[in-house]
Symmetry: C2
Subunit: 345 residues, 2 copies
DNA sequence: CCTTAGCACTCAACCCTGACGAGTGCTAAA
DNA sequence: TTTAGCACTCGTCAGGGTTGAGTGCTAAGG
């Protein structure tokens, strides 16, 4: 991001008022309507200021005789320097909290609930990724015979994530033998992650070739799991976009829905986000995604325990109420973190 | 459905031509354009026939000087008596088949792939429910200690469906004890469904109260699973609606998306469908769902093995090409059935 | 009796026009 | 430096005329 043009006190106040007005009404805002809010100056003075704000690129005029609309850059300035975040109102808290009052065991269930809750709380499309823990650890494993050449691996990971995968068997093997191997492996691998397990196969002698082969396959599968973890993206609330005037244009809507349904694009976007600083707001073209030129993303992480973290956030119109959305995303993130942490036991 | 008004040969031919034209163009079709297709009669003759077809309710005139559009009833007559189903073109087969070339283990993965494939093949919103088998049988179970008051039940069901659920422990129990109980239960319950298991707890004496308690909870959970099975509905392809002219109206789009995102409504609809006769087509208001008055559903079952069946189908505009969509839904259903059956081993 | 050419009629869609008004930029005075 | 005043721009909206697709009816012809 390039250095923002500095603004004096009055210009800041006016820019802030433009953003507030436009967010509320969705209509380009003119000097007259600003003059009633900012009674200190006349409409003519404000007009002059608006002209310079347009010159430096913070405001845009849709056409000559229209009011001003904040540009992406204008929103950026607003978000970085002017915005006063609002508390999450009681009404919203009371809407969100019940979702987390039920206590499902599976992390996936919690995430699905979180997506619904956030979509409702922020009146936008919600996005949630599964909690990523680099090198998630094994809590328990089991092997179930499928047929002569395949066995099903059932892995219980930290956070009660359950993963299954078919493993190939080099020779027909009874369920009782598989159970024995599973018990043996459990004694060794519990509490280890993929990296921690990588040396284990070497220590198994030739007398247990099958066991070693299975362990190798298990490690490979866990490595894949690690890599895949944040390609899973849940979303909800596309309907919330539809009652916004800017999406009355079906063209625009189409582009946005295409991006949302094509999870890969979102995954790329989310993994590109820099979430070390609490919350990341991507405004309009900042996302670099053509279809989202009129949309903004507000993303944050949720933490469950010290290590596990996932991403949660919303996708909405550039015109969204940033001062409200940010706190609400954080609020839900905190609830999700707590719920996932609880599920982790 | 009430008795349809019978039509003579010529009226049938004209109705069929109206449906074909309107499906292709999306514009109300007039007597002149029909006269070039049906060169046997003049536009005036056709006009007379159109008038009577309107009278009996098979056609609708948007306004006095517009052409005719098929009514729900008109489509119903077309679908029941006039439609010649088209073969699934090679191009579409080549588009669908690769999806099923990959072989994921989990049934859920297959369903997700199927949703994507069908949405593409039918150019509409696809809907897929999990395969329902009344009284699904247990293949394997395992118990993992979570903490002093909870244990995680991992159930592997027929078809390699894995389900997990936290169970309450009446007293602190070691993992080794839980593993012993799991082994004991496995010897008894494998191959049984919820109903088959219902008598078992009585036969366990007081010396194994914990085991009996856990078994009771497992049975309860399986019963819930049975009931929930077809509330899981995957969908894909909302974007396909957007390039259709009839959904240029955002109002309409909003209603449809609301129904699709609110899975409960779809679940009600699908479970109300009568799928014993191969394929069910619900046209417009026939679905009884207000938001879907301009949409049609084409649903069928897929079978994996003798007992398991799920529902798969599409939701699209009433104006969809029924002659193409039906066969394509069946084609994908057949592929899904085969894939799920294979995953079932 | 059925078919069809001809014709008057209807009505949405389109384009043009002028009035309106919201909003601007500029200028000159306070 | 601020602000009142004013000319100007331009999108929006309503009215009105034209166009053209499509109809229903009628009367003539097979």
């Amino acid at each position: 991001m390039q250095h923002p043009v500095p603004l004096d006190q009055r210009k800041q106040q006016i820019l802030k008022a433009v953003v507030a007005d436009y967010t509320r009404t969705g209509v380009p805002v003119g000097s007259a309507s600003l003059a009633v809010h900012l009674a200190t100056w006349s409409s003519a003075t404000i007009r002059n200021e608006l002209a310079t704000l347009s010159e430096v690129g913070y405001l845009i005029q849709p056409h000559t005789s229209a009011g001003r609309v904040p540009s992406d850059l204008g929103y950026r300035y607003y978000v970085d320097f002017l915005m006063d975040e609002e508390d999450v109102p009681q009404a919203v808290r009371r809407q969100v909290d019940p979702f987390f009052a039920m206590l499902p065991t599976g992390v996936e269930d919690i995430l699905e609930i979180a997506a619904t809750a956030l979509a409702q709380a922020a009146d936008a499309v919600s996005l949630v990724t599964a909690p990523r823990a680099l090198g998630v650890r094994v809590k328990h494993l089991d092997l179930v015979k499928l047929n002569d050449v395949q066995a099903l691996l059932v892995l219980v990971l930290e956070g009660n994530l359950v993963r299954q995968q078919a493993l190939r068997l080099t020779s027909p093997t009874d369920q009782s033998v598989l159970s024995g191997i599973a018990a043996g492996l459990n004694a060794v691998v519990v509490g280890l992650n993929a990296a921690g397990m990588s040396r284990l196969p070497e220590s198994i002698g030739d007398h247990a070739a099958l066991e070693r082969d299975l362990l190798t396959q298990i490690i490979a599968f866990m490595t894949v799991c690690d890599a895949q973890q944040d390609t899973l993206i849940l979303h909800d609330g596309v309907r919330n976009l539809l009652h916004q005037p800017e999406f009355g244009d079906v063209e625009l809507l189409q582009q946005v829905i295409e991006v949302v349904e094509e999870e890969r694009m979102l995954a790329a976007l989310i993994s590109a986000a820099d979430l070390d600083h609490g919350i990341q707001i991507m405004i309009g073209r900042e996302s670099g995604m053509a279809g989202l030129s009129r949309c903004s993303l507000v993303l944050t992480t949720y933490r469950a325990g010290a290590e596990r973290r996932g991403t949660i956030g919303v996708l909405g119109s550039t015109r969204m109420a940033y001062a409200q959305v940010g706190p609400r995303v954080r609020y839900v993130a905190q609830r999700v973190g707590r719920a996932v942490g609880r599920a982790l036991s």
